[in-house]
Each structure stands twice: as C-alpha cells, then as structure tokens.
C-alpha cells in the first residue's frame, strides 16, 4: 500500500463521516430500535398459511405483467436502438432519441407507474406501461451500445458490394449485435419481476399491493407469506436464466465445444 492510496482511503472515510453527519445518520437510534426488528421478524415467522393461494395468484399476475412489459419493451427497443446508434443514424435522429431514452431511465419504474395510474387508472395495465417504458429505455441503450461496438470490417465490405441501408441493417448489423440480446432480455425480465413486485404499492397491480397493505396494518405474518413467494419466484427465475444462458449463449459465443458444468 503506497502513501497515495492511504491518503485516498482516508479522504473517502472523512467524506463519508461528514456526509453522514449532514443527513443525520444516527447509530444510537439504530441500536435502540433493533429490538423492534426482532418483534417484526418474530411475527413474520408466524405465517398465516391460508394466504398461500392468494399469494400465488398475485405472484402469477406480477409475472404476467413483467413478461408482457419486457416483451413489449424489447420489441419497441429494437427499431429504436437502430435509430439511436451513432454509426447508423443521422445526428438529428440519434441525438434527440438518446436524450429521450435517457429520460425514461432517469426515474425508477415506480414513478412511471404513478404517472400511468393517473393516465389509465388503478390496476395492472398501468404497471405494464411503466415496465414497458423502463424496459425501452434500458434495452435500447444496451442494444445501441452493442450496435456501435460491432466490427466495422463487414460493414465496409458489404457497403462496397452495394447493399442498401436496410439490407446492411438486416444482414450485418442485426446478426452482429444480436448475440447479446437473449442475455439482455433474461436480465431485464429478472429485473422487471422484482420491479413489478413493488408497483402494487402505488396501485399499479401485482403482489406489492398486498405486501404494502399488510405491512401498513402491522400484519407482518400475512406480509411475510407474500414476501416469501416473491423471494422463491425470483430465485427460480434466476436459476432458470442461468440454465438458459449456459445452454444457448455460451454455445453461441464460443462454439459447440464448451462444456457446461453439471453438478
């Protein structure tokens, strides 16, 4: 460790301390409040098992919302990402589009959900719109970045052959940038399930509606059932994503000979 690093670490610690004081971080309040957490946790272990069914259906609705939102978002993102790629589109198209996409990513989907509840009313549809919008912002960015990173050689070679722009996009740009798409979609779906689980807090459908209401009325045992269902679902989706990734994406990127470790 050289002195320069020590200085840097010291500075970071100092900044954290000053900022903590500024926003009112209070370790004593935390220590004093800890027993409350014990009470909540104890109540949470008293599952009220007649709620498993409701929780299951609420989770199903959540997954459906996340799925629709992810697919809609991806479908809309694909053409948008082409218009937003600097190596394909004109400045007058990509510059405003990128700003717009950045704006959709600036706010978490729960804020968009509030907006859409105002527009289309309470319920899952508002949630789907929020998830769709957020997915558009996110996937478009990932896609235009991978379009901008593609190998320039085939672009040059096919331009010399005399391909039109549309043919270039269809035969060079998409095949060269698509390999990452499946992995991006899986990641996005995983993320969207977790996002959708809390959209119910603002009345935009999904399992979050139950969680927030039971917590509000101190029914931790009921809330715990719903939270546990979310946890299990997310773990399952995570596990399935890994399997899909291993099976299709590893192979596509490194050829057939990759051995997927089985345990």
């Amino acid at each position: 460790m050289n002195p320069k690093n020590n200085l840097l670490i010291g500075a970071v610690i100092a900044i954290v301390v000053v900022m903590s004081y500024d926003v009112g971080v209070d370790p004593i309040a935390f220590a004093e409040g800890l027993p409350n957490l014990g009470i909540v946790l104890k109540e949470m272990t008293e599952f009220e098992s007649e709620h498993w069914g409701t929780a299951f259906w609420a989770m199903l609705e959540t997954i459906e919302m996340a799925f629709i939102g992810t697919i809609l978002g991806v479908v809309i993102s694909l053409p948008l990402s082409i218009f937003a790629a600097r190596n394909i589109s004109s400045k007058y198209v990509y510059a405003p589009l990128r700003a717009l996409l950045a704006a959709t990513r600036t706010f978490p989907s729960i804020l968009w959900a509030i907006l859409f509840v105002i527009v289309v009313g309470l319920g899952p549809f508002a949630g789907i719109l929020a998830i769709t919008l957020y997915t558009i912002g996110f996937i478009s960015k990932l896609q235009y970045e991978s379009i901008e990173a593609i190998d320039y050689d085939p672009v040059e070679a096919t331009t010399a052959i005399g391909l039109s722009k549309l043919q270039l996009i269809r035969y060079v740009i998409i095949p060269e940038s698509a390999p990452h798409l499946l992995s991006q979609i899986l990641y996005m779906f995983d993320y969207n399930v977790r996002q959708t689980s809390i959209l119910g807090i603002v009345g935009a459908g999904g399992i979050g509606f139950y969680i927030i209401n039971y917590i509000k009325f101190f029914e931790y045992g009921k809330a715990a059932v719903f939270m546990l269902v979310v946890l299990i679902t997310v773990l399952i989706i995570d596990w399935v994503s890994v399997k899909i990734r291993d099976k299709y994406i590893m192979k596509a990127q490194h050829g057939q000979q990759v051995k997927v470790k089985t345990n």
Binding site: P154, V155, E156, I161, L163, R170, Y171, V172
Partner: protein, 270 residues
C-alpha cells in the same frame, strides 16, 4: 498511362474495366499514400499487385471500387465515375467482386447467409428483408458454394470455420455478386503454402468459369508470378522505374517479359 503493351482496342474484350488517371490518394490530406498513379485494367486481364507493406496496395483497390475518393485524378469503372450515394452506381459496383484484406464476413451468420449478401443488390427491399430469395438466386449460391468446396457446410456459422474455409466463403460471396472483375486483397497471405495454393486454384477455376478480370494483391512474389499474367509493383519513394507518366509509383510488366530471376532481383531491390 502505365501499360506499354497497348493492345488494339478493336475488340470489346480489350476495353478497360477500370481506368485510373494520375490518381493521388491521401487519408489525412497532408501526405499522399499514392501519388500520380495511372493504370489501365483491360477486360480479361489477370493482374497481381505486389509491394512493400504500407506502400498503398489496399488503398489502390479501395480507389478502384469507389470506397475511397481520390484527392486528385480520376478513377473510372466501366467508364463511370464512382458515387456510392448514387443508387444507379451502387448497382453497377455490385459487379465489382471485392474481397478486403480482413475478408469482412458476418461472423455470427451462416455460410449461406454470407454468400447471399453478394446477391442482395439484385433483390428488392421486401424480399431481402424477409430473406425471401428467388429460386435462381439460391441455385446460384449453391453453385458457387460447390465451386469453392463448401456446399456441405452452408449452414455452419462463419466463426466456426478455419482460416482457409473463411477465405472460400469470401470468394463465394464475391462470385455471388456475378462480378465482371474480382478484386482480392492479400487473400492467401496468412495461409500456409499448401492451403494458399488450394485457394488460388479455386480462384483460378472461378476465373475460367466466369471469365473474370482479376486484380489480386499478393505478399508473395512467387505466387504472383505463378497465378497472374501481369504484375504491377508499387514502389516506395521517388525512385521510379518508370513505365508511364512521371511520378508513377507503379511498375507494370508482363510476367513473360522477364525471367523469374530478373523480376525477383528487381523486386528485392525496391
């Protein structure tokens, strides 16, 4: 003009495919990569271009297919000035079969998809978007794949092929263009001697079959002499072994004109 053995212009077969007149090329508008180069590529000729690394060989080919605009002088392809923005011209360059030094294959696509790219300028937008290829295009793709020896591997992804096989795909794509001239940039330079000759034989067969004019850049003078009937040497610097206008960097000779020993001596001097 470079050529001294000016053949008679009496038959259409001797007409120029590509003409370059006093062409200079620059990437930074300060220094020139090529200066005052003239060349006349006659229909049916089989050129090899050799020269030291960085002497401007690739640049010369890019000038010929319009990928690069000369800073001075004119390049004509079938007596037309290149203009990639012009749709009519794009159609006409689609008949310049071009294999760049890096091959420019779409690695995540299949062999067949890569080959079909060569025929896309003949297809309309809708058909090409939905990969709705007419029967005769598929037949032609099948024929050229057979000619390069890859018909068994047409569904294989390009990134899974060997170096020699990738070159065969690039040749097939160029042939799919139904070219009247083939420009190939060091297509065998990175291959071992045996594979290099296999690939050159494939090209020779294709040239015969489709009656192709060819300009091929070579790293290896021996290959150039073996497969071409005219060789142009691009020389660095001011020392001009001149055949043509002043300032020419290109020496052009018929392979039969000098003995192999003389040529290699001259080449090594340069």
């Amino acid at each position: 003009m470079v050529t001294i053995n000016t053949a008679s212009f009496s038959s259409i077969a001797t007409l120029s495919v590509i003409q370059m007149r006093n062409v200079s090329a620059s990437y930074d508008s300060k220094s020139f990569v090529l200066k005052n180069v003239s060349m006349n590529v006659k229909r049916g000729s089989n050129y090899a271009i050799v020269g030291a690394s960085g002497s401007g060989k690739s640049t010369l080919l890019k000038l010929m297919n319009g990928m690069m605009i000369p800073s001075d002088g004119v390049v004509l392809y079938n007596y037309q000035k290149p203009d990639l923005k012009n749709k009519q011209y794009r159609k006409s360059i689609s008949k310049i079969g071009y294999i760049p030094q890096t091959l420019g294959l779409v690695k995540n696509s299949s062999v067949l998809d890569n080959v079909m790219i060569g025929g896309l300028p003949r297809l309309n937008s809708i058909n090409s978007f939905f990969k709705n290829f007419p029967k005769e295009e598929l037949q032609h793709a099948h024929d050229v794949l057979k000619l390069v020896g890859l018909d068994e591997k047409s569904n294989r992804k390009v990134h899974m092929l060997s170096g020699g096989e990738k070159r065969r795909v690039a040749i097939a794509r160029a042939l799919m263009q139904k070219p009247d001239i083939l420009l190939a940039d060091e297509i065998v330079s990175e291959l071992d001697a045996v594979t290099a000759r296999e690939i050159m034989d494939v090209i020779r067969d294709a040239q015969k079959k489709f009656n192709l004019t060819a300009i091929m850049i070579h790293h290896d003078m021996n290959l150039a002499l073996e497969y071409a009937n005219r060789v142009a040497v691009i020389k660095e610097g001011d020392k001009v072994l001149e055949i043509g206008v002043e300032g020419d960097k290109i020496i052009d000779f018929q392979t039969g004109d000098m003995s192999q020993k003389e040529i290699l001596e001259m080449y090594n001097e340069s």
